[in-house]
Amino acid sequence: MRAAIASAALAATVAGAALAQDNTIIQIERYRQMLQEGNPAELLVVRGEGLWQEKRGPKNVSLAACDLGLGAGVVKGAYIQMPRYFADADQVMDFETRLVHCMVSLQGFKREELTKTPYSGAGQRQTDIESLTAFVVEQSRGAKIAVPQEHPQEKASFDRGRYLFYMRAGPYDFACSTCHGVDNQRIRLQDLPNFEKPEPAQRAFATWPAYRVSQGALRTMQWRLWDCFRQMRWPEPIFASQATVDLTTYLGVRAAGGKMDSPSIKR
């Protein structure tokens, strides 16, 4: 933070204006601090836990047999080791992709129905995917991000993700790296973590999913990428597509060792 303030001060040529913005950044930081007490995501964690344990779907079973990579039903610490390779599906999956896989294969839900509207809209109740994500990610709070890179498919996922991260396209010529490949950049007053550096990458990855106060909803990692691509003027990323998983693999590996602190609360 301090570095950001210092560099903002250096970059601005008009001293008075720069000082005004220094103060702005300090005040925004204070606002963010004030939000920390009382994160409505807690409400969703409770709901998600209920959904995880409840017998649901056409097959009327709970998700207790869902293997998130650490064995059937193991939820604690599961989130931080995803995306990972799953032999039963022969592909690399992030948490949300794996969750859908479990809901389809174990509970008998229809994939198309689950993935049609994975994110809740304004005035809507949060989706089951969002609620379950809140619960599972909470079980990794404090654990260190350790997205695996052992299986060849995990390595391929990383390589494709890196390619996607730097790929410029669309009418604005934007790549992810346009905003997230340089230190201390901001859009308006929002900090843009540089994923080429471990520390900002860790901080960013560790704080998603997050409760977004601007939307009054918990937003997942898939949503985070989806909304970035919207603003990049790209076409719509398909929920749980391999490309989105690959990008998350890339970001997760970049963030290795970061301490999970999610669900967080953001503007």
């Binding site: 009382g38 994160n39 409505p40 807690e42 409400l43 409770v46 809209g121 304004a122 005035g123």
Partner: protein
Amino acid sequence: MPDPMRIRATAQPDGVDVRVLMSHEMETGQRRDSGGTLVPAHHITNVTVMHAGKVVLSAEWGPAVSKNPYMQFKFQGGKKGDEITVTWLDNKGETRTDKAVIN
């Protein structure tokens, strides 16, 4: 059925600190849906916190309280192990009551 609240009540030297998170849309009545129709207001109007049969806080809220409301206050006379009850009521007549033990 509305989702349960999250209530934290902690006995401190200068009173019981109460923090409550409620699950509620708090629709302002000024937002339009994607079809352009005004979404009617839907918000909590009243919150009551009881301890030992006595009201320790009552609130009246309008739609300008944030979605998924948060509230914090402190009262005297409670001790560890006591129970407090929080009730909210909204403008559609829906209500929810949750209890928490002071710790």
